[in-house]
Amino acid sequence: MPTTLEHADLDAMIADLPSREGDRVIQLREAIREAMAHEMRQDKRVFLMGEEVAYYNGAYKVSEGMLDEFGPERIIDTPISENGFAGLAVGAAMYGLRPIIEFMSWSFSLVAADQILNNVPKMLYMSGGQWGCPVVFRGNDGPGGQLGSTHSWSVEALYSNVPGLKIAIPSNPYDAKGLMHTAIRDDDPVFYLESERILADKGHVPEEAYAIPFGRANRTREGEDCTLVSFGRPVHFCEQAADMLAEEGITCDVLDMRTVRPLDSEAIFDSLKKTNRIVVVDQSWPFGGVASEVISQVCEKAFDHLDHQPLRVNSDDVPTPYAKNLEQAFLPNADKIIAAVKKTLG
């Protein structure tokens, strides 16, 4: 029998988390860095590798200053070769190390698809339980703002289809730190998706180390009329929409899933039992995505609680446009979410 983690264990971990309230305000990129640096101080097995992570301090400055602290043996600049360092990480993990691999953009992870999808998540299974791949792959995900279609992937829809992976998508600095601690300590592979557009967002982040358990959503606000489900940057669009709807007397439960693999379906069903309406906001494409998975599960397991068909707000079913106005029109936003919520209310 495999090791299991009871729901009660996760509840206890959630209860032990430090307060989200406080005045130690730092950027989301700094929160990620704090977690990585903390873990590296504790555990010599952990190292950071990727393109320009060392001397250049990272393309998005997430690893700024880490070369100075840990040296070039543990903060490693690589050739431009995503498949190369993704595959290297597999070997290193099997040798007992805990690699953190930065993709400058998750868009570039596509050239490493065989390693990250065909090797990493299957290694434990294919070796009869012998070798897991405790690697954290992290980097910028989602449209960064006029980067063009090849550089603007939201990989969560595609990658979450693969069994054996964990996928964390933080929306705020507090969660970014806690999820990164969990990711590094996890014995299984974790894809950690950072939106470039929120790396400079600021918020209170406790100085201490804390691990937010995967598979537990955070309800960012309580409401009665509709459940809004999202993850990563679009959580902010949900918050904006909820603010505007509140002015009209419509209140929403907003669930920030934090991880899409595992997915806290119970939190969604619990909220739905109260609101009886649901809108899922997902900035990846609509066909076969995370939103469609959430809605499938709702239909399979909570159908009787629905007063209206579930709706989703995705990016449009086209490559991410290059033109600014088209890119804005393409992405989910508060107006689209408001329209969806109102539709569920009839």
């Binding site: 029998m1 996760l10 290297l88 070997g91 993990a93 119970e266």
Partner: protein, 376 residues
């Protein structure tokens, strides 16, 4: 000077034991002892028998598919012995045509049969054995060997990451990224390329315009060398030097071992459809077992009695191995959730307990849907 030669290169080819069993004693110095040669000949004989039995198991429906190693035993045997003599501390990232290198370094012979019989447990490597699961996709695993070499360097341990792959794998980008990493990051790695002339049905001439496969490593700063891959002396000497170069200088070596796939690509293939029998016959004369036996007989180290003994021993060993592999209890359906994660998440616990991934579950005929009995 407006024009100069920026770079020149040459690839050396080594042969120490020729196909007639004649030894170049000068080059053979400090390589294999008589005892080593007898040991390798015996191991190659056992491996050859294992190969034949595996082929028969497949033909009689007791195994899914199997890639014969026939004709390519010398390189893996010699390289395997080098690593065995070092205490099997080096890490091996194999593909599927170097069984002997794995057997010599601790992989139970049952494992490979079990794998090809279609059981993930064939790739469950015993603790303390430094061998990765066989990589069946082509060329994806040299990167893992690079990671292993990188880790050895990071942990300051005296180990080398060794990748075995074929000529066909050098057409994959992954292999070149692995070679570049090993060179650029100065890693203790050895790339052992068995050039058996055929990538399934595609001949080397279609794979590359290079004169040799060995030269492919030059661009990545490797030490590059070509050996007669059916010659245990040359393979031993060059592989040992490569291991030492990796350990002492953190310089990778790319070895091209010239050999020939005497069998089909796998049991799912019929090579008669695309290659001339004359070519196969020619290479059969260069068989590593034949030349090694000739050498031993010339030295008075082998005779028909000993041959009969090793053949009987091979039968006894392989028969026991087949029995063990076929005797393992079949996995239960619920087992397939167990190796998904180190700690199973709630959702998989639920799926395991209910045996339901979907609403229907794994055995829909025993379930009911909407209260109606379902029929198988």
């Amino acid at each position: 000077m407006p024009k100069r030669t920026a770079y020149t290169a040459k690839i050396e080819h080594y042969q120490i034991l020729d196909e007639n069993g004649e030894l170049d004693t000068r080059l053979a110095k400090n390589t294999l002892t008589d005892e080593d040669v007898v040991f390798l000949y015996e191991q190659m004989s056992i491996s050859r028998h294992y190969d034949e039995i595996a082929f028969k198991l497949q033909r009689s429906g007791r195994m899914g598919t199997y890639p014969q190693n026939k004709g390519q035993e010398a390189g893996p045997a010699a390289a395997g012995l080098v690593m065995k003599q070092r205490g099997s501390v080096d890490w091996i990232a194999p593909c599927y045509r170097e069984n002997l290198a794995l057997f010599l370094n601790g992989l139970p012979m049952e494992s490979i049969l079990l794998h090809w019989m279609g059981d993930e447990r064939g790739n469950k490597i015993p603790d303390g054995v430094n061998i990765l699961p066989m990589a069946i996709p082509i060329g994806t695993h040299p990167l893992h060997a690079v990671g292993l070499g990188w880790s050895a360097k990071y942990k300051e341990e005296d180990r080398v990451g060794v990748a075995f792959f074929g000529d066909g794998a050098t057409s994959e980008g992954d292999v070149h990224e692995a070679m570049n990493f090993a060179g650029a990051l100065k890693l203790p790695c050895v790339f052992f390329c068995q050039n058996n002339k055929w990538a399934i049905s595609v001949p080397s001439s279609t794979q590359t315009a290079s004169e040799t496969f060995a030269q492919k490593g030059l661009a990545y700063g490797h030490h590059c060398v070509q050996v007669d891959g059916n010659d245990i002396f040359a393979c031993y000497k060059i592989f040992k030097e490569a291991i030492d170069r990796a350990r002492m200088e953190h310089k990778p070596t790319f070895i091209e071992a010239l050999t020939y796939r005497l069998g089909d690509h796998t049991t799912a293939d019929d090579a008669r459809r695309y290659r001339d029998q004359a070519e196969v016959d020619e290479w059969a004369k260069k068989d590593p077992l034949i030349r090694t036996r000739k050498y031993l007989e010339n030295k008075g180290l082998w005779d028909d009695d000993r041959q009969a003994q090793i053949e009987a021993k091979a039968k006894e060993i392989v028969s026991r191995v087949v029995k063990n592999a076929e005797g393992i209890e079949k996995p239960k359906t619920s087992d397939f959730f167990d190796d998904m994660f180190a700690v199973l998440p709630d959702e998989l616990v639920r799926q395991r307990e209910t045996m339901r991934t979907s609403v229907l579950g794994q055995r829909p005929q025993t379930e009911t849907l909407a209260g109606q009995p379902q029929h198988a």
